[in-house]
């Protein structure tokens, strides 16, 4: 949030992406429950709705869970602020919470392999104070309106050190600071501790000389610490004073741009060729009904209601599509427009085939955006990997980033921000390579907003795209084998791009009642999700094989369309196949080509299984 409001934007939405080990140990359950409560506690208090996100569970995160957060803000272009320390003689000001010893070496901790020693180091964690954050937020949004504000930046990783050096570097200036003036909440702090503290809820400002009182006035109104702690110089040095002595004097560039570039070795792991060589085939399925039910209970597929019920996703009253659909949608007050947003990333594909998996991750995020009636605008990425010093892991990074960047080019979605977390290893075991994509799209007219749930009985059900025979990394494989291997579904980016455009055009033409993309669990799960939690059912005809029902091949969608719109829909999207219709008997029925039903279950039962899975795992004993 601080990164967003320090630009002058008001945070309007939060999303998060979580990765945990399976919920079969008390430890993981504890971590999962507490992390969700922590995210809720902070976001809810600040009053920014948490509108979406995703959760996956996999052994590889057992010792190293991941929490990636995304914040979306809204800004009037004229208020855009930059983190620059310009104007020699201008005053450097400190605003927000006072500085303690918390989080010293936090940045190095975040990118460090967890071991016994780092366990002992953990007291360096910071305790967040959302109430202060809320006040800093409101104060900053007032501050950015001031003529006299030159630059503003959050004190993030490496605290005062990186914020001051970055601000000076961007302006080609230097900064002098007197550390005795830094607001402190602990006694006897050394200059070293103050410069590296990662106490939260702090901002660094550069203000036109003589206008300090304007800043102070706003800060006092919000009851925040404020202090003038230094000034901008022209010597391009960061010079620190403490007790009247110079305690540091270094060229700014030494801390920012001149950092050495690290060349590391990249080696393709042997497992990659092995996986490409053996194409995994699912064991033959005898009871499709049971397989569907089993899939719906997989924690990665199951309803995440347990999680998002704890997040205030409605505050600010802009949330048109609440959690539970492909993407969240927020209207923009006073306009016809809305924003769609989502977070995605399937690390199993990336583990088996990083380049293709990187493409899949970006494409899936974009599909979610398109399904909600929006045009993808841009994305942010969170790159989570093991140690880049391992040539195999560096190879994963290189290949998956290449895949993502190809997809971004083909789909015309610039990467406008992101972050990186490395050394995600426990006792030498790295997590799956886990880049997470956060994407935002624009809905031109709120009338285009589309959800995944079917609307009414009688609507026709259409599918766009074919399944494939590759099941590497699929939920079905994991369920049958408890491990992943083989060839993952391949993506053709040109097909992906043209289908996305087609889907969006068709939605904008007003002939789509609901749209949903196919992901984990394939067509069978996607179809079920269309009626989950409603009083509707569906009857469709599909050939009875795993490729049709459970393939996770990309670039595929299910739609429901009013019977009266069917002709127009089919002329816009001739490739889509009608497979059945929505019913009002609340039964999910799949017939084979001879009219024999081989999946037949009540919506109510499927919903109960799907919603109950995570709460049930959390209550279960070790």
């Amino acid at each position: 949030m601080r990164d967003v409001f320090s630009m002058g934007a008001r945070p309007i939405a939060l999303l998060n992406s979580l990765r945990f080990g399976p919920l079969d140990t008390p430890r993981v359950r504890y971590l999962f429950e507490e992390v969700v409560a922590g995210i809720a506690g902070y976001g809810n208090c600040v009053g920014v709705p948490t509108v979406g996100g995703e959760v996956q569970f996999d052994r590889s995160y057992d010792g190293n869970p991941l929490v990636n957060a995304m914040c979306v803000g809204l800004i009037d272009h004229s208020n855009l602020q930059k983190g620059v320390a310009a104007g020699v003689g201008n005053t450097v000001m400190y605003v927000g919470a006072s500085t303690g010893r918390d989080g010293i070496h936090g940045a190095t901790f975040a990118s460090e392999e967890l071991n016994e020693e780092s366990q002992a180091k953990r007291p360096s964690v910071q305790v967040g104070d959302p109430f202060t954050e809320k006040r800093v937020l409101e104060a900053c949004l007032e501050l950015v309106e001031l003529e006299s504000l030159v630059g503003i930046q959050d004190m993030g990783a490496a605290g005062l050190t990186s914020s001051s050096a970055e601000m000076a570097s961007k302006a080609g200036s230097g900064i002098n600071m007197n550390l005795n003036l830094v607001p402190q909440r602990e006694t006897n702090m050394t200059p070293y501790e103050m410069m590296l503290s990662e106490s939260q809820e702090r901002m660094l400002l550069v203000v036109k000389k003589g206008h300090e009182s304007e800043i102070e006035e706003i800060c006092e109104k919000w009851d925040l610490d404020v202090a003038s702690i230094g000034e901008v110089t022209d010597d391009r040095n960061l010079t620190l004073y403490f007790d009247g002595q110079v305690v540091a004097d270094v060229p700014v560039t030494a801390l920012t741009d001149d950092a050495p570039v690290y060349e590391v070795e990249s080696i393709e792991p042997v497992s990659f060729k092995e996986n490409q060589a053996k194409d995994w085939k699912p064991a033959s399925i005898t009871d499709y009904n049971e397989t569907l039910k089993d899939l719906l209970q997989r924690p990665t597929i199951a309803s995440k209601e347990w999680v998002y019920d704890q997040y205030d996703h409605m505050v600010q009253t802009n949330t048109v599509v609440v959690p539970g659909s492909d993407a969240a949608v927020l209207r923009i007050r006073g306009t016809k427009k809305a924003l769609a947003m989502t977070m995605d990333g399937n690390s199993r594909y990336i583990k088996l085939d990083p380049e293709n998996g990187g493409k899949l991750a970006v494409a899936e995020a974009a599909r979610n955006i398109v399904c909600s009636g929006a045009k993808p605008l841009a994305l942010t990425d969170c790159l989570n990997y093991g140690s880049p010093e391992q040539p195999n892991i560096y190879w994963q990074m290189k290949e998956s980033t290449k895949g993502m960047s190809d997809a971004c080019r083909t789909l015309s979605t610039p990467v406008i921000s992101g972050n990186v977390s490395l050394y995600n290893e426990t006792s030498g075991e790295a997590i799956y390579p886990t880049p997470i994509i956060g994407m935002v799209g624009l809905v031109e007219d709120t009338a285009h907003i589309t959800m995944q749930q079917a609307k009414q009985a009688g609507d026709l059900v259409y599918v766009l795209g074919e399944g494939s025979a590759h099941f590497g990394g699929s939920e079905l494989q994991l369920m049958q084998d408890d491990e992943i291997s083989g060839i993952v579904p391949k993506i053709d980016l040109d097909v992906e791009a043209s289908r996305q455009q087609l889907v969006l055009r068709t939605i904008q033409a007003g002939v789509v009642q609901s749209a949903h993309d196919l992901a984990e669990g394939g067509l069978a799960v996607a179809l079920t999700e269309k009626v989950m939690g409603t009083s509707l059912g569906l009857t469709v005809t599909l050939s009875k094989d795993a490729n049709t029902l459970f393939s996770e091949a990309p670039s595929r969608y299910v739609f429901t369309v009013k019977a009266s719109d069917a002709d127009q829909f089919e002329s816009l999207m001739p490739e889509a196949r009608a497979i059945g219709h929505i019913t009002d008997d609340a039964q999910v029925i799949v017939n084979d080509d001879y009219g024999q039903s081989y999946i037949n279950a009540s919506t109510e039962e499927l919903t109960r299984i799907w919603k109950g899975a995570i709460p049930c795992l959390l209550k279960s004993k070790a």
Partner: protein, 228 residues
Amino acid sequence: MKAAVIVFPGSNCDTDMFHAVKDFTAAEVVEFVPHTANSVADYDAIFIPGGFSYGDYLRTGAIARFAPVMKSVSKEAAKGKTIVGVCNGFQILQEAGLLPGAMKRNKDLKFICRTVGLKIENHNTRFTSEYAKGDVLQVPIAHGEGNFECDDEALQKLHDNNQIVFTYVNDVNGSKSQIAGIQNEEGNVLGMMPHPERAMEAWLGSEDGRQLFTSVYRHWREMNVVTN
């Protein structure tokens, strides 16, 4: 009608409340009033919005209750002015002694954000006259501490005086008698945990909250016709 929406440090439903009053009633004036204000005497109706005033540290509403503006709110309440506290606003009114009972953490200890069924128990109030008795509304809740608690004697009094205005259709948070909203004995102060200001437009999921605001407005108008 002149309406005030009180803003404490940490309030975060203030803007939503403001829009609900401004866009859905014919109030001539709707204004934000800071916690530092000394008087709300100029207003006919006072809305205390949800959020986390003072971070809800120590107890929800415990610190906000001492904000300067609350002295005046109490005074105006005693004079019979309309006061509506939603969510954190309800908790503040309890801490201030303007409404009975206290809130504990939800029975399963989790924050709950969800649209729930809300039953009108008393439609003979200035807050609910535009609803019918027994109406079931769909209104979002969003709280971690909405588990209404009071002793048996106080509960009996609430029942006897028809002070229970809203109840939850299902037991969502452990509240005694499934209480979701109550008024004071005099019937001019309302506290409710659910957020009517979030249920104002169909595209937000529900517009069942509207009549709360129109009821308050109607009451004011009727009183004014009489007194003028």
